[in-house]
C-alpha cells in the first residue's frame, strides 16, 4: 500500500535522470562562478537592495519613467512653439516685451477712464508717478 505522495513520486521516477541534467546545468550556468555574493559584504547588500527596491517592481518603475519622459517631451515641445520664448531668444527682448505690455495696459486704462489724449510718447514709456499735489488738484477738478 502506498500513500498519495509515494504513488505520485514513483509514477514520475523515470524522469529523475533528466532532472539531474537540468539541475546540473542550472547550477553550472547560473550558480557556479556567477554567484551574487562572491563578496558577501557590500556587493551582496547592494544587489539585494536592487532586487528588493527596483527589480521586484520593475514594471511600476518603467511606467513611472515613461510618464515622466512624456511630460518632459510635451513640456519641451510647448516651450519651442510659444511666442514669449521665441522673443526671449533676441537680445534685449525681455525689456522690450515689458514695455509693450505696460503700454498696452496704459492704453486699456486710458480707454476705461475715457482719456483719449494719451500721446505716442506715453505709449512707449511707462507712466511716471505724478506728485501728490497734482493728484489732489486733479481730484478737485474731476
Amino acid at each position: 500500500m502506498k500513500n498519495p505522495r509515494e504513488l505520485l513520486l514513483s509514477k514520475h521516477q523515470q524522469a529523475d535522470p533528466k532532472l539531474d541534467v537540468v539541475r546540473r546545468n542550472v547550477v553550472a550556468e547560473h550558480v557556479g562562478g556567477k554567484t551574487l555574493a562572491e563578496d558577501p559584504g557590500s556587493t551582496g547588500f547592494l544587489v539585494r537592495l536592487w532586487d528588493e527596491l527596483f527589480w521586484s517592481c520593475r514594471r511600476a518603475w518603467c511606467g513611472l519613467a515613461t510618464v515622466w519622459i512624456v511630460v518632459l517631451v510635451l513640456n519641451l515641445a510647448g516651450e519651442t512653439t510659444s511666442s514669449p520664448r521665441a522673443m526671449a531668444a533676441k537680445p534685449g527682448a525681455p525689456m522690450e516685451s515689458l514695455r509693450l505690455v505696460l503700454s498696452e495696459q496704459n492704453r486699456l486704462r486710458a480707454e476705461l477712464l475715457g482719456n483719449h489724449s494719451e500721446s505716442p510718447a506715453d505709449q512707449s514709456e511707462p507712466a511716471q508717478p505724478s506728485p501728490r499735489s497734482e493728484n489732489r488738484w486733479k481730484q478737485k477738478t474731476a
Partner: protein
Amino acid sequence: MTVMTDSEPLPVAEARGGDADAWDALFHRYQLPLYAYVCELVHDEQASLDIVQETFINAARHIGQLREDARFGSWLFGIAHQKCIQRWRRQRPDSDPVEMHETELADREKNPADWLIGKEQEERFMKCLAQLTPAHRAVLLLHFIEEFSIEDIAAITDAAAGTVKSRLHYAKKELRQILEETP
C-alpha cells in the same frame, strides 16, 4: 552530490552566499516533487522539464526575495505554480484555470500520509486526479506531495485560505468516494 533527507535543515543560508553545493542539494531535494506537481498540472513531460528548469533559474537569480529560509520549498513551488498558470493562459487566453471563490468549509480530513491506496486502486486514483479541475488538482497535489499547510498552499496558489480549504475538502471527498467504491 549531496542527497538530503526531509528531516535535514535546508542549506538556504549557504545558497544565498553562492555555495554551489548548497544549491545542488536544494534542487536535488525538490526536483522530483516539483516535477511531479508540474507534470500532473500540465500533462506534458517536456513542458514540465522546461518549467522546472525555469523555476530553478528564477530561484537562483532571485533568492534575495525569499524572506524566510524555512519557506524555501513553498516559495519554489509558488514560482512553479505561476509558470504553470502562464502556460495555461498562453494555451487558452480566454480561460482562467483558477476558479472563483468558494464557500469556506471545515477541513477535518485525515493526514495525507494516512491515505493508503492499494495497487488495484492506483490507476483509478490517478485517473480521478486527472479529472479534477486545475485549481482542485493543484491544492491536492501540494497537500499530498509536500504536505504543505493551508497557509503555504494559499501563498503558492495566490488564493484565500478559505478557498484552499474548500477546494481541498471537495477534492478529497471526490477521491475518497472513488477509493471506497473499490472492493
